[in-house]
C-alpha cells in the first residue's frame, strides 16, 4: 500500500494548477487513492463483490487489498468471535430473516375486517385516486397514489366510503392494499439486516438488528394496515441502505455498482419525501453524509480537480436533480390522475379549480361582466386564500365592535354569497326585470350586501382581532341599511377608470371610502369564537400584495347572458407551487386543541403510551400500537451505552492510548458506522421537539429503525470487546452466548406481547382477570 499514493502526490501548489497528469493517473484502473480508513476499503470489498467466495470471518476481509505481488502479511491471530460468522455465508441468514419478517407481517393480515384508525383517511384517499376525484391532504401524493394503485391492481373498485374507524369492509377487497403495505413493511427487516452487515461487517450484529425489527410488535402493527408509515419507512430504509452501499463502493468510483447505488439513493429519497415531508430528515442525513464524503475526497490530493468535479456533478445529478425530477413527476401524475372535482377544491385558487371536471369553474359559463344586483363570491388571491364569508355570529366581547363576523372561509358555502349594490340606493330596482342592467365599473363606489344575513360589508377604526395594526371588518346594518362606513371603492389592478369588471380575470381591490384602508385577508386563523376561519381585515398599509386582492369566482345574474370563458389555465409550476403552499398551511393548521392530552416526543422512546388502532370495549377485537417494551427499553439503554462507549473510545484515542489492531477496528465500527446511524436517529427524533403541530406516537418509528440498528452494532461491539479481553475459548463462549441470550430475550418478549399486534379479545388489561393484566407494566398502557 505505501508507495502507491505517494508516487502520485505532487507538490500542493502545482497539483492545483496542473491537474492533467493526475487525471491520467486517477483513471488508470486498479490505481486507487489511498484508503482513508481501513474499514472503508473492506466495506467496498463486501459491496462490490458480494458473492466473491465464502466469507471466513467478515473482519478478515478488512485488510486492504494489496497490489499483486506484494508479500502478504502474516494472517491475523484467530478471533474470539469468529465462529458465528464463518459458515453459511450471509445469504442463508438473510433468506431466513426475510422469511420470518414476511411471515410475521402477513400473519392475520385480514384481521380485523373493519377500518382501523387512519385507514379511514388513507384508504379513502386511495379510493379517490381510483375514482379520480380531487382531494386535499397535508402530505405529498406518492404514498396515497401507491395505495390507490395497489387497490386498483388487487381488484378494489374504490366504492367503499371509509367513513369512520370500525366500519366493516364486507365484500370490499381491502387485502390488496393492506398486503401492499405489509409487503413494504416486511422489506424493512432485510434492509436493516443488509445495512448493519455492510456497516459493521458482523453477522451477529446484523441478525440482532433484524430480530429486533422482526419481533417488535409496534413495527408489525404499523405495517399491517393501510397507512403511509410502512411506505415512508420502506423508502427511508431503502435510501439508507443504498447510501451505505454506495459509500462502500467508494474505492471504485464511477463503476456500475457505484452508479447503481448512488442513483438508487436518489430514487429512494424522492420516494421518502413523496410520501411525507418527514422524508426531509433522511434527505438531510444523506446530504450530511455526502458533504462529509466530498470533504474527504477534497482532502485526497491524489485526485485532480477535474475528478473532484466529476464526483461533485455525479452527486448533484443523482442526489439532487434526479430526486427533484422524480418528485415533480409524482405531482404531474397526481394532477393528471385527479381530474374530477372533489372535496379539496375550495382550498385552491379559482384558476386551479377550472382544471377540474365537474367543478363549477370547469368550462365555466357565467356572465362576463359584473353588474349591480349580481350575486357573487369573492376569493382571496393569496395562496390558499379563502372566500369572503360572513355568518350570523358576532365578534365576541372585547374584540373590536360587537358586530357580525366577516371571515375568509376555505370551503364552498352559501354564506360566501354577496350581492353588489349601489352605495346610495337600495335593492328593489335591480331585481325588477324591466330595469336595464347597469355594469359595475372600475372606480365605482359600491356596497356589498351579505346575501344570507342582509348585512353590509363594513369597516371602521377598531383594531382587527388578530392583526392589531389593521382595522376590523364586520357585517353591519339591517336589511341593507347601514351607514357611510359600508361604502367601498372597487378597483381593478392595472386598468383604467370606467372599464367594466370581469369575472375571474380581474384582480379586484376594495378600498374603504371612509378610512382609505384596503380589504384583505391576513391569513391568520381566528380562535374558537371565529370557528377557526381565517381573519379578514382592512389594512391601512397600501401595498400591492395578493393578500389584498380578490377575484370574483361565482357570478349569478339572470339578466345577463352566460358566456363561456376559457379561464387562464395555470401552468404546471404554478400548480406545483400552489399545492405546496396549501399543504404547508394545512400542516401548520394541525395544532393541538387546548386542554387536549397529546403525545409528547419524550414519551416515545420510553414507550410511554401507545395508540388504539381498533376496538375500545371488552368484546371488541382490539389492536394496540405499542412497541415491544423489552426491545424499546433495550434500545433506550443502548443509546446511553453507545454514548458511553464512544466517549471512552475517543478520549482514549485523544489521550494517545495505544490500541491494539483489534480494538482499533472495533472503535472504527463504533465511531463511523455507529455514528452514521446515531446521526440518523437524532435527525429523525430531535426535530419533533420543535414542531408545533399535533404529534402522534407513530412519528417515532423512523427513528426507532435507526435506534434498533444502533442496538445491533453497539451490543455486537461490546460483546466483541469483552470477548477480546478474555482468553480465546472463554471469549468465544461469552460472545456466542451473549448474542444468543439477547436474541432469546427478544423472542420471548415477543411471545409475551404478540397479542398487541395480532389482536386481543376479552377483558381490558386494567382488569386483573385479563390474561394481559400482568403485562401492563406501565399504567399509561391501555390494552
Amino acid at each position: 500500500m505505501p508507495g502507491e499514493g505517494t508516487s502520485l502526490r505532487f507538490p500542493p501548489c502545482s497539483a492545483a494548477r496542473t491537474p492533467f497528469p493526475l487525471v491520467l493517473c486517477a483513471v488508470v484502473p486498479g490505481r486507487r487513492r489511498l484508503p482513508r480508513v481501513g474499514a472503508r476499503m473492506t466495506l467496498a470489498a463486501g459491496c462490490c463483490q458480494p458473492e466473491s467466495g465464502p466469507r471466513c470471518g467478515g473482519l478478515r476481509q478488512r485488510r486492504p487489498r494489496r497490489p499483486a505481488g506484494e508479500p502478504s502479511r502474516p494472517s491475523p491471530p484467530p478471533r474470539a468471535w469468529a465462529p458465528l460468522e464463518a459458515p453459511g455465508g450471509v445469504w442463508a441468514p438473510l433468506a431466513f430473516v426475510t422469511l420470518l419478517s414476511f411471515a410475521s407481517r402477513f400473519h392475520r393480515l385480514s384481521e380485523p375486517p373493519h377500518v382501523c384508525w387512519d385507514e379511514t383517511h388513507f384508504g379513502k384517499m386511495g379510493s379517490y385516486y381510483i375514482n379520480r376525484t380531487f382531494f386535499f391532504d397535508v402530505h405529498p401524493p406518492l404514498g396515497k397514489m401507491l395505495i390507490g394503485l395497489a387497490g386498483y391492481l388487487s381488484g378494489y373498485d374504490g366504492t367503499f366510503p371509509f367513513q369512520k374507524p370500525g366500519d366493516r369492509y364486507e365484500h370490499h377487497n381491502y387485502i390488496g392494499m393492506r398486503g401492499f403495505c405489509a409487503f413494504l413493511g416486511s422489506c424493512l427487516v432485510p434492509f436493516s439486516y443488509l445495512t448493519v452487515l455492510e456497516l459493521s461487517k458482523s453477522l451477529s450484529a446484523a441478525l440482532l438488528a433484524a430480530s429486533i425489527l422482526i419481533f417488535d410488535t409496534g413495527c408489525i402493527t404499523l405495517s399491517q394496515y393501510i397507512l403511509l408509515d410502512p411506505i415512508l419507512m420502506f423508502f427511508l430504509m431503502g435510501a439508507v441502505l443504498s447510501m451505505v452501499k454506495y459509500n462502500s463502493c467508494a474505492d471504485r468510483p464511477f463503476s456500475a455498482p457505484w452508479w447503481f447505488w448512488l442513483s438508487l439513493t436518489g430514487v429512494n429519497l424522492a420516494g421518502a419525501i413523496g410520501v411525507k415531508f418527514v422524508g426531509l430528515f433522511v434527505v438531510l442525513l444523506v446530504g450530511l453524509n455526502t458533504v462529509y464524503d466530498l470533504w474527504e475526497l477534497l482532502g485526497d490530493l491524489s485526485l485532480s480537480l477535474v475528478t473532484l468535479g466529476k464526483h461533485l456533478m455525479a452527486r448533484v445529478f443523482c442526489l439532487i436533480l434526479l430526486p427533484v425530477a422524480l418528485y415533480t413527476t409524482q405531482f404531474a401524475v397526481h394532477f393528471a390522475v385527479l381530474n374530477k372535482s372533489g372535496p379539496g377544491d375550495g382550498f385552491f385558487s379559482s384558476a386551479f379549480q377550472s382544471r377540474l371536471i365537474g367543478n363549477n369553474l370547469h368550462n365555466v359559463s357565467v356572465p362576463e361582466h359584473l353588474a349591480y344586483g349580481s350575486v357573487i363570491t369573492m376569493k382571496n388571491l393569496r395562496m390558499a386564500g379563502g372566500y369572503l364569508h360572513s355568518h350570523w355570529h358576532l365578534y365576541p366581547e372585547g374584540v373590536g365592535a360587537r358586530q357580525q363576523q366577516v371571515t375568509a372561509y376555505l370551503h364552498k358555502d352559501l354564506n360566501n354569497l354577496w350581492v353588489i349594490k349601489k352605495h346610495d340606493s337600495n335593492t328593489a330596482d335591480h331585481l325588477d326585470p324591466s330595469h336595464s342592467v347597469e355594469f359595475v365599473r372600475h372606480g365605482d363606489v359600491i356596497r356589498l350586501e351579505h346575501k344570507e344575513t342582509s348585512r353590509n360589508l363594513h369597516s371602521h377604526q377598531h383594531e382587527a382581532p388578530m392583526t392589531r395594526k389593521h382595522f376590523q371588518v364586520t357585517g353591519y346594518g339591517i336589511n341593507g341599511t347601514g351607514d357611510a362606513n359600508d361604502f367601498w371603492r372597487i378597483e381593478v389592478v392595472g386598468r383604467k377608470a370606467g372599464k367594466r369588471i370581469k369575472v375571474l380575470r380581474s384582480q379586484i381591490r376594495l378600498t374603504h371610502l371612509a378610512t382609505g384602508c384596503i380589504l384583505g385577508s391576513s391569513g391568520k386563523t381566528l380562535p374558537k369564537w371565529g370557528w377557526e376561519q381565517v381573519e379578514v381585515t382592512c389594512t391601512p398599509y397600501v401595498k400591492e400584495t395578493p393578500n389584498a386582492l380578490w377575484n370574483v369566482e361565482d357570478h349569478i345574474n339572470p339578466k345577463l347572458p352566460n358566456i363561456s370563458l376559457d379561464v387562464l389555465k395555470p401552468s404546471f409550476p404554478e400548480i406545483l407551487l400552489e399545492s405546496h403552499m396549501v399543504m404547508i398551511r394545512g400542516n401548520s393548521g394541525l395544532k393541538p386543541k387546548e386542554n387536549e392530552v397529546t403525545s409528547k416526543p419524550w414519551h416515545w422512546p420510553i414507550n410511554y403510551q401507545g395508540l388504539r388502532f381498533s376496538g375500545v370495549n371488552e368484546t371488541d377485537y382490539r389492536v394496540y400500537l405499542l412497541g415491544n417494551p423489552v426491545v424499546w427499553w433495550l434500545n433506550l439503554v443502548t443509546i446511553g451505552l453507545y454514548l458511553l462507549m464512544v466517549t471512552c473510545a475517543i478520549v482514549a484515542m485523544k489521550r494517545g492510548v495505544q490500541l491494539t489492531a483489534e480494538l482499533k477496528e472495533l472503535s472504527e465500527v463504533l465511531l463511523h458506522s455507529g455514528g452514521k446511524i446515531m446521526l440518523g436517529w437524532l435527525l429523525h427524533y430531535l426535530p419533533f421537539f420543535m414542531m408545533g403541530r399535533v404529534l402522534y406516537f407513530h412519528h417515532y418509528f423512523p427513528a426507532m429503525l435507526f435506534s434498533s440498528m444502533l442496538t445491533g452494532i453497539t451490543w455486537d461491539t461490546l460483546l466483541k470487546f469483552c470477548a477480546g479481553r478474555l482468553s480465546c475459548s472463554v471469549g468465544r463462549r461469552v460472545y456466542t452466548y451473549g448474542t444468543l441470550a439477547l436474541m432469546l430475550l427478544i423472542v420471548y418478549s415477543f411471545y409475551l406481547f404478540h397479542p398487541l399486534s395480532y389482536g386481543m379479545v376479552g377483558p381490558m388489561a386494567s382488569d386483573p382477570n385479563s390474561p394481559m393484566a400482568g403485562l401492563r407494566w406501565l399504567e399509561s398502557w391501555e390494552f
Binding site: P12, C13, A15, A16, W295, L298, G299, L301, M466, T467, R468, K469, K528, K593, E594, N595, E596, V597, Y608, Q609, R612, V616, V651, K654, R655, G656, M690, G692, S780, E782
Partner: protein, 749 residues
Amino acid sequence: MKFTFTVMLLVMHETGGLNKPFCRMLEFLKQPVVVTAEINVNLVALTVMGLVNRLWALSYPRAVVFDEVYYGQFVSLYMKRIFFVDDSGPPFGHMLLAFGGYLGGFDGNFLWNRIGAEYSMNVPVWSLRLLPALTGALCVPLAYQILVELHFSHCAAFVAALLILFENSLITQSRLMLLESVLIFFILLAILSYLKFYNLQKCSPFTAGWWFWLLLTGVACSCAVGVKYMGLFTYMLLLAIAGVHSWHLIGDQTLSNVSVLCHLLARGLALVVIPVAMYLSFFYVHLTLLYRSGPHDQIMTSAFQASLEGGLARITQGQPLEVAYGSQITLRNVLGKPMPCWLHSHKNTYPIRYENGRGSSHQQQVTCYPFKDVNNWWIVKDPGMQQLVVSNPPRPVRHGHIVQLVHGITTRYLNTHDVAAPLSPHSQEISCYVDYNISMPAQSLWRVEIVNRESDTDVWKTILSEVRFVHVNTSAVLKLSGASLPEWGYRQLEIIGEKLSKGYHQSMLWNVEEHRYGKSQEQKEREVELHSPTQADISKNLSFMARFTELQWKILTLKNEDTEHKYSSSPLDWITMDTNIAYWFHPISGAQIHLIGNVLTWASANVATLVYMCLFLWYLLRRRRKICDIPEDAWRLWVSAGGLCVGGWAVNYLPFFVMEKTLFLYHYLPALTFQILLIPVVLQHLTDHLCRSQLPKNAFSALMVAWFSSVYLVYRTFSPLTYGEPTLSAAELRALRWKESWDILIRTH
C-alpha cells in the same frame, strides 16, 4: 498609546531618635515607594466618550418611553414587594432596574399605563435609566478589549469600539429603562473574560488571574441568562468554544491525566455549576423580595398562593389539612386554562335540546367558574352514610376511597352518565343529579385518586394534593374541557367526563382550595355556614425549590395572547433594517425618539459577514487541497475571531426564525453587536493579507477614513431621532425617511 506614570510618593531618610520597633516599621520607607500605573489612554478615552454619549441628558424625556411602560410596572411591584410573574424572562433584569429605582428612592407609586405619560415628581427618572445607560457605555471599552484579546491591532480594536459608540440603535436602547443594553453588556463581558482566561491558559494556569477570569466568565454568563433568555444562546456558544478548547487540552499529551482532570473540573465548576447556582440565587432573591400577594396570584397553584402574604393565604390559613368525610371544599382546576376556575354548579339545568339538535339529560348544570362564589362549595360525603357533617374524630379521605360530592347550596350529587357533553360530544356530560323519575339512575360514585401521592394510603390534603375524580360506573374522569358554554350556561367553562383518559393531564386534576369541616346537618344552617368566611391560621410554607420550579415553569409556559403589535417585525426585516420602532413622540413639539440604527454600520456589518463567509469558505477549501494562502497563525486568528463574531451573530439571530412570539427590531441588537465586532476583523485581514504592496494599502486606508467619516455623519444625521432632541421640522423628518418602510411620525398641520 500607552503611557507609564511613575509616581514617587515619598522618600524619607532615617532621622534617628525613634524607638526600635518603630524604626523597624519604618524600615520599608528606606526604599522609595513606587506605584506604577499603566493607563491605556485609549480605554479611558473610549469609556469617557461612551459615558458622555450614553448619559448625556439622560432624564430627557421626562415621560414614559415605549417598553418602560412594561418594565416600569415591575419596578413598581418590586418597590411594593408584590409578587408578579413575567413571561418575558427571568427576574435578574427586572431586579437590576428595580435596584436603580431603589437607589433613587422610588416608592413605586406611578401608574404605568400609557406610553408618553409624563413622569410625576416622585419617579427618579435619572437613576432608573442609569444602570442600562452605564452598561451601554461600558460596552464600548469592552468591544475594544475583546478585539485586543483576540490579538488584533489596537487600531482595529479602536474602530470596533467607535462603531459601537456611534451606533444609534444601541444608544437609544441603552438610554432608556430597557434591558437589551444590560444583556449585551453581560454577553460581551462573558466573552471578554473567557478570552482573557484563555490567553492566560497557555502561560499561567491556576493562578489568581486565571481563576478570576474563569469565574467571571461563569458569572457573566449567568447574569446574561438571568437578564433575558436570549443570553442562553451566547452561553451555549461559549460552552461550545470552551468544549473545543478542553478537547484540545485532553489531546495535549504533555499534561498528566490528573492535571487534565483538574482543568476539566475547574471549567465544569466555573462554567456550569456556578451559573446554575447564580441562576437559582436570582430566583431566591426574587422570591424573598416579593412576599406579598398581587395581581398574578391567579396563575399560580393554590399552594404557591398560600405561601404569599395576603390574598389566598389569608383565607386558607388555619384550614384543616386533611379532607374528611363531611368536609366542605372548593375545588380548583390545577391547569386553569383558559382561566383559573373552580368547580361550580347552579340551579339552572342543561337545555333539553342544544342549538345543533342534540339532546341533553336536562339535569342541573355543572361548570367551572372563574370567580369565587358560594356555589363553588361542595361537600364530601361517604356513600354509605347519610350525614353531611364531620364526625368526631374526623375520618380522613384517602387515595382510592369512593366518595360522593354534594353541591352545598342545592344538595344535589355530582353525577355523570352516558350522555354527550354539550360542547364535546365525545365525552360524557357532568351534571348534578335531578331525579325526574325516569329510567336514568343516579351514578354519583367517584373514586378519589391522589396523583402526587407518596404512598397508596395517602390522605387527601387541602391545597397540596392533586386529585383525579374517576367515575366508578363508567371510569370517566372529571375534566375541564377549555370550551366556554353559550348563553344558557352563562359563558362559564364546560366540565366533561373524559372517557378515554389518556395519561395524566393537568386539566383532569383538581385541588382543594378552601376547606372547613362541616358542622350543620340542616340545610338552612349549612347555607349560612357556607356563606360565612372560613376560619384562620397556620400557613403552609413551600420549600424554595418547589416555588422555584413552579415559577420557572409558569414563566416558560405562560402564553401572552397579544401576538401583534404595530411595530412588530419579522427577523428578515432586521438585516436590512426595513423597519423601525417609534419609541416616543411629544404631542406638542413633535420631538420623537425612534429605534433606528446607523444605516451605514448595518450595511457594512452585513458586507463584512458576507466577505468573511466567502473568504472563510475559500480558504477552507484551498487548505483542504494543501494550498495555504495565508500563514497558519493568521488562519487560526481568522477562524477564532470569525467563530466568535459570526457564531455570536448566528446564535443570537437565527433562533428567532423558529420563535412564535412577537418580535421587534430590538431583539436583533445582540446579534448586531457581534456583527459590528466583525467589521474591524475583516478590515484588518484585508489590509494585512490582500493588499500586498504599498499603493493599494494607502488607497485602502484613505477609503477607510472616508467610510468612517460617513459612519460618523450618519450618526449625527440620525441623532435627533436617537436623543429626541432637537425637534425637527416636518421637512427635515421627511428627509430622514431614507426607507419607504420606515414609520416616522410626520405631523400634517
